[in-house]
Subunit: 137 residues, 3 copies
Amino acid sequence: MVHGRTITVSTAGFSDIINISGEVQSTVSSSGVQDGLVAVTVIGSTASVTTIEYEPALVEDMKEMLENVISKNTRSRHSETWGDDNGFSHMRATLMGPGITLPVVDGSVLTGTWQQVVVIDHDNRPRNRDIRIQVSG
Amino acid sequence: MVHGRTITVSTAGFSDIINISGEVQSTVSSSGVQDGLVAVTVIGSTASVTTIEYEPALVEDMKEMLENVISKNTRSRHSETWGDDNGFSHMRATLMGPGITLPVVDGSVLTGTWQQVVVIDHDNRPRNRDIRIQVSG
Amino acid sequence: MVHGRTITVSTAGFSDIINISGEVQSTVSSSGVQDGLVAVTVIGSTASVTTIEYEPALVEDMKEMLENVISKNTRSRHSETWGDDNGFSHMRATLMGPGITLPVVDGSVLTGTWQQVVVIDHDNRPRNRDIRIQVSG
């Protein structure tokens, strides 16, 4: 059995981190799947899905870390060629990947107590992001 | 058909790397699944699952690389706010992600000869880690 | 229902990036799966699968970024021990992971318009790479 839902979230860009754990669990609950997998994937080439302890200090740490590894001021042929100045956004997204797959056990997404599912929007402007939550079981 | 098992491994923390390939294959074998997927996911926000050629020299290289990219001495608001000094652990885990999904073909996890499934515990102390191995087919 | 195919692509190594979106979609189409998941996984410990906007300027940016984060000149115990000089290849692959899972909706792989599925071969020589495309639905 496969059950999917596409949600849309508004972001501020620049690796803004949005907690979507509630939407992932509610999609699993609606599906009726007790044991299976849930794949959470953001559509597009400048965003990522991962997990984090979603508290404000760590969210800032993570954004700073990404800036240290791939700065928004990194010289980019993509930015120079297309003039959209978001080469760094693409590189962050390609490094981290577009999605994760988590286990569903007894109708619940199995994560730690201090572990939330998040979308990170690396683009260089506010956007509305479509995320597919696909449940299989 | 879905078949899952949770295993627990003891780690030393600080990106200790543990080979769990045997447990992943034995869970697939027990499931009876011949063709499908296996998702391997660590529970918690300071650890990762990935693959590596599991030999001692490379394991040391990998730990050193993680220290170069996100040092345990990185200033962290999370560490300063909560006093648990593991901001770097969270950042490493969020960058790498909590799990991987591999193909199951003819009853075997399809990986290379020199490629093992590992959990990397980034936390700053020894821990017992729960890892879910979820087989679907 | 599970349907899988193994494709082989020739690469130049050194994080050469190859677009395999067409093969992923054609495997999904052949499977007859309308709604499900597709896991795309490269076999071996020195390559990765991810998504990118596949255009030449960004492909060069991404290769340069990987060189900045984990240089091919990084000192490596693995390279010194085994003499194959590809410690950096292993570290890039382990950091990025071996594969991704994407949703299949109405018979199509759900990705953005400017988002392609790619294999990145980090090894230090040309290779033929096997990639498993496993469809479940």
